[in-house]
């Protein structure tokens, strides 16, 4: 047997037994290698390596591909050991003869390439040598040294023994201790500024804390002196530059480094103060590319300091925010301003900095968001802002500063969270934004629970719109509790949220609960024809439809319909909307003759009174289309459905639940007609939209994946459908685990596919897999909708 044959044989065996259990492997090899003990031995060796894994699994890390190199001496200094290596150079501990002392020697990597640079280096060196302050590591000498690879600058500096600030940050200290230390750091920086020296590379690694607790800043002016050419550095040292970029101001990243002034150091100090207090950086820059980092620093608002620790709310948050402003003019004009405010804070005096106003934040937001993510995002902002304003007015909140600030802060944080720049290229889903806002809500408005309850009501209804009923339930429940406590159950606001709450429970298929809540609400309403009574009754009727109790639904809708007819007249929008509901229920009871004229007439009224693009009209169009479908008038039905989808997409946005359901109906219709190619294209497109806007695990996204797979299976080939289904399964399985709801749902999908394909073994295997997940597949329910 040739080498090549043997290799092929080896591979073949390995492939076959690789994923088997030990005993199964043995049995297989016993059989296959009966006459070739050598081959068997080779396979077993490979299997042993395979089971161990290890080497090669991580990509090679070239940073380790170097050796330590220690020169004997640099100039008149004896090199003792290497203290550290960094982006721009290496630092040695060295000994000097005259005067006899140990010094830190910093050798720069980059040589002095031009005469200009050389001159500037000499000039700046003399300035640096004059810089004397207990908070600054003294520079003894600045010179060049040629080790045979060209002259490179080096600095002989005071050797500081202690820990770097980045270590100190990790330890536990009181806020006051941190502030005092920070003020000492600022004083040293301020001293240097007064001598005309800007640091330009302030970061915790450059700040040592001596054993006596005194801060000493290293490398003052080093960046400028050697013109470490930020742009060049950016392109040559990707990984580590990010570490330094973290502390760089936007103007430092963007502009010519010669334009920098002391306010860039103010910014770096702001980042350091933030990190000291929060224990984290203002931006999450982990695993970001350089371009992303630059964009984040330029565009994104830092995470509010107060969000890390409630104790940091108020003045400290204001001070840090002012130091971290993007535009230098909005920062403290000098480090002294920063020091003064911190001292005032410690002395419990009013600080000079003012939080940016909500109006300013709104303006900035609008400027930055010419490319806002989509209609939903804007809608959430508008909804929540409007709720805040309304609730603020109606609750007649006194003008207590704390509350005003709470409102302003909440609004600001919400706005910045919607900033697409915040995600630095990652798709930002509407869901993410909402989650973010609702999380913040938990910690806001403690003093004004009714404002919070209103907001939670709004958040709840937004979740409802997105089809996130569990989240909606949570927020509604909280809102209901507070409102009942604050205003009583008979209050209209309480009743309104109760009604919405009931409808959410219905969507969660908790019909009995929904019924009992809505009936309870109805019993507390005195006027049976008031708008709130109509609303609660309507929702109750919808629940009845869900329970299959059509007669009761009919009675409830009819009661509403007659009441509205009486109060508003037969050409009114109110009557027409309710007629759409009533008509749909009549259809369910097969009373077509009664239903059809009612529906057609109501749709005409809505088109006339509200216009074709009103959400209520669009709902009616959809429902009338369903009626035509039931009557077998497919063409009429399709025409209306297409119209509903088109209007819905335009008016409500492509990810609105109503749009998606209408689209769903349309695609199902197309599939029924056998128009698979168009359906596949439409479905694939919708999957992509849902994935981006709602995320890959959202049930709506998965619904569309299911549609896509179905379309592919019947319209193209089982293989193609299998590929899509498996790739979704694998992706969700690897990201969320095999027991997750989303992976489970995809496992059922794969199983169903194999079922249709007639592959029984695979079907059984996937059923087993699907059952390990927490997902329980529902019986298929045709998703109809009723205007609400």
């Amino acid at each position: 047997m040739s080498d090549t044959d043997r290799f092929a044989k080896l591979e073949n065996l390995f492939e076959q037994v690789r994923d088997l259990e030990t005993n199964a492997r043995k049995a297989f090899l016993d059989h296959e290698c009966i006459n070739d003990a050598d081959l068997r031995h080779e396979v077993e060796k490979l299997l042993a390596h395979h089971d161990r894994g290890g080497m090669l699994d991580d990509p090679i890390d070239i940073t380790n591909a170097q050796e330590e190199y220690l020169p004997e001496s640099v100039g008149r200094y004896q090199v003792l050991e290497c203290l550290g290596r960094g982006g721009m150079g290496v630092v040695y501990r060295a000994e000097q003869d005259q005067p006899q002392r140990q010094v830190a020697l910093k050798m720069m990597h980059a040589g002095l390439r031009s005469k200009d640079l050389q001159r500037r280096f000499e000039f700046e060196s003399s300035v640096l040598a004059r810089l004397q302050h207990p908070g600054i590591a003294q520079i003894f000498e600045v010179a060049t040294w040629d080790d045979g690879n060209g002259a490179r600058p080096f600095f002989a500096m005071e050797l500081v023994e202690g820990v770097a600030l980045d270590q100190f940050v990790k330890e536990k200290h009181s806020i006051e201790a941190k502030l005092r230390l920070f003020i000492a750091i600022c004083e040293a920086v301020h001293h240097a500024h007064q001598k005309g020296v800007i640091h330009r590379d302030l970061k915790p690694a450059n700040i040592m804390i001596t054993h006596d607790g005194v801060p000493k800043i290293l490398d003052f002016g080093v960046a400028r002196t050697t013109d470490a050419d930020l742009q060049a550095t950016m392109y040559t040292l990707p990984g580590q530059l990010v570490g330094t970029l973290t502390y760089m101001s936007p103007e430092q990243i963007n502009s010519d480094s010669s334009q920098l002034d002391t306010r860039s150091d103010v910014y770096a100090l702001g980042v350091i103060l933030y990190e000291l207090l929060a224990g984290q950086l203002p931006y999450d820059l982990a695993d970001k590319s350089l371009a992303q980092v630059a964009r984040i620093i330029n565009e994104r608002e830092p995470r509010s300091l107060a969000s890390h620790d409630r104790k940091l709310r108020g003045d400290l948050t204001t001070i840090v925010s002012k130091a971290l402003e993007k535009e230098p003019e909005r920062r403290y004009a000098s480090v002294f301003g920063l020091i003064s405010d911190l001292r005032r804070f410690l002395a419990h005096e009013p600080i000079a900095a003012r939080p940016a106003s909500a109006v300013y934040q709104m303006t900035k937001f609008a400027q930055r968001n010419k490319t806002i993510v989509g209609g939903m995002a804007a809608m959430i902002v508008i909804l929540l802002s409007a709720t805040i304003v309304l609730s603020w007015q109606s609750a007649r909140i006194n003008t207590e500063a704390r509350t005003r600030q709470d409102v302003a802060n909440f609004l600001r944080e919400m706005l910045t969270s919607l900033d697409p720049a915040k995600t630095a290229g990652e798709p930002l889903t509407v869901r993410d934004m909402l989650d973010d806002a609702s999380l913040r809500l938990e910690n806001s408005f403690e003093t004004v629970p009714s404002v919070r309850a209103d907001l939670q009501g709004t958040v709840g209804s937004t979740y409802h719109l997105l089809g996130e009923y569990e989240q909606a339930e949570y927020h509604y429940r909280q809102a209901v509790n507070v409102l009942t406590q604050e205003h009583g159950i008979k209050d209209e606001k309480t009743l309104k949220i109760l009604a919405d709450f009931g409808l959410t429970l219905k969507e969660l298929d908790r019909l009995e609960e929904a019924e009992s809540i809505l009936r309870d609400a109805l019993s507390h309403i005195e006027d049976p024809v008031s708008p709130i009574a109509i609303k609660v009754r309507r929702f109750l009727a919808i629940v009845m439809v869900g329970m299959g109790r059509t007669e009761e639904a009919d009675a409830l809708f009819r009661y509403n319909y007659n009441s509205l007819l009486h109060s508003h007249g037969d050409k009114s929008v109110e009557v027409a909307s309710e007629a759409i509901n009533l008509g749909s229920v009549l259809m369910d009871s097969k009373r077509h003759d009664e239903a059809l004229p009612l529906l057609e007439e109501s749709l005409a009224t809505l088109r006339r009174e509200l216009g074709d693009d009103d959400p209520v009209t669009i709902s009616a169009i959809n429902n009338v289309s369903a009626v035509y479908h039931n009557l077998g008038r497919e063409e009429d039905s399709n025409e209306l459905l297409r119209e509903a989808v088109e209007r819905s997409t335009r008016v409500l946005g492509p990810v609105h639940l109503h749009t998606l359901r209408r689209r769903h109906n349309m695609v199902r219709g197309a599939m029924r007609r056998g128009d698979y190619e168009a359906s596949i294209a439409e479905t694939a497109n919708t999957v992509a939209i849902c994935e981006q806007e709602l995320g890959p695990t959202h049930s709506e996204t998965l619904t569309w994946v299911e549609m896509l797979v179905t379309g592919l299976a019947f319209g193209r080939s089982m293989e193609e459908a299998e590929q899509v289904a498996l790739s979704w399964y694998e992706r969700l399985e690897s990201e969320h685990g095999p027991t997750s709801r989303s992976a489970g749902r995809m496992a059922y999908l794969v199983m169903n596919l194999y079922d249709s394909w007639g592959k029984e073994e695979l079907e059984a295997e996937w059923l087993r897999r699907a059952k390990t997940s927490v997902y329980i597949p529902p019986d298929f329910i045709m998703q109809e909708e009723l205007p609400q």
């Binding site: 290799f7 990509p59 990984g239």
Partner: protein, 176 residues
């Protein structure tokens, strides 16, 4: 950028390789020569940086194409570096230089780049595609999915190739 379902390395243009090689080497050299920075630098980052520089030149069929060439370049750079180190140290005599891989050394010893290079060439003699998968994943920092895409093969195939190649290389290196 759409990725084309064909084997990118089959169209192995030497000029492009040379371009990427030069550029990557320049970037990598900064690291190799001097410092040990705070952050580890995996090839993904380097390849990404090089891509930013070279992507505009318009000669690339796709990102996948670029990654394939860059992975090959990365392998050559590291091998050349190891050879040069060896020569410098021992006056031309061949000296093995150890590179450690990022994490989790299953074999509890450093990786010998030159030995790996030899083993990889031997593997290519039997099955070129398997060697390419290793090249893309280990030297190029690509994921299983990306390497499959780059080579225009199914992910399952790329994974099988990887498992076998990895075991085979381990075995060959452990015989040294």
């Amino acid at each position: 950028m759409t990725e084309e379902p064909e084997n990118m390395m089959r169209s192995n243009e030497p000029d492009m390789l040379a371009d990427v090689y030069g550029d990557l080497r320049q970037i990598a050299a900064e690291y190799l020569r001097r410092e040990r920075p705070d952050h580890t630098l995996q090839p993904t980052a380097l390849v990404h940086e090089a891509y930013l520089k070279l992507a505009d030149s318009g000669q690339w069929k796709s990102a996948a194409h670029f990654r394939a060439v860059a992975s090959r370049a990365m392998r050559q750079i590291l091998v050349d570096h190891a050879r040069m180190r060896g020569r410098l140290k021992r006056g031309g005599q061949h000296e093995r230089v150890m590179l450690t891989t990022g994490v989790a050394l299953g074999m509890d010893r450093d990786l010998d780049v030159l030995a790996l290079d030899e083993a990889l060439s031997a593997l290519a003699g039997y099955d070129e595609r398997k060697a390419q998968v290793v090249e893309l994943r280990f030297f190029g920092g690509l994921s299983a999915r990306e390497s499959a895409k780059t080579l225009g093969i199914a992910q399952k195939t790329a994974e099988s190739d990887w498992y076998f190649a990895r075991a085979w290389l381990h075995e060959r290196l452990s015989q040294r």
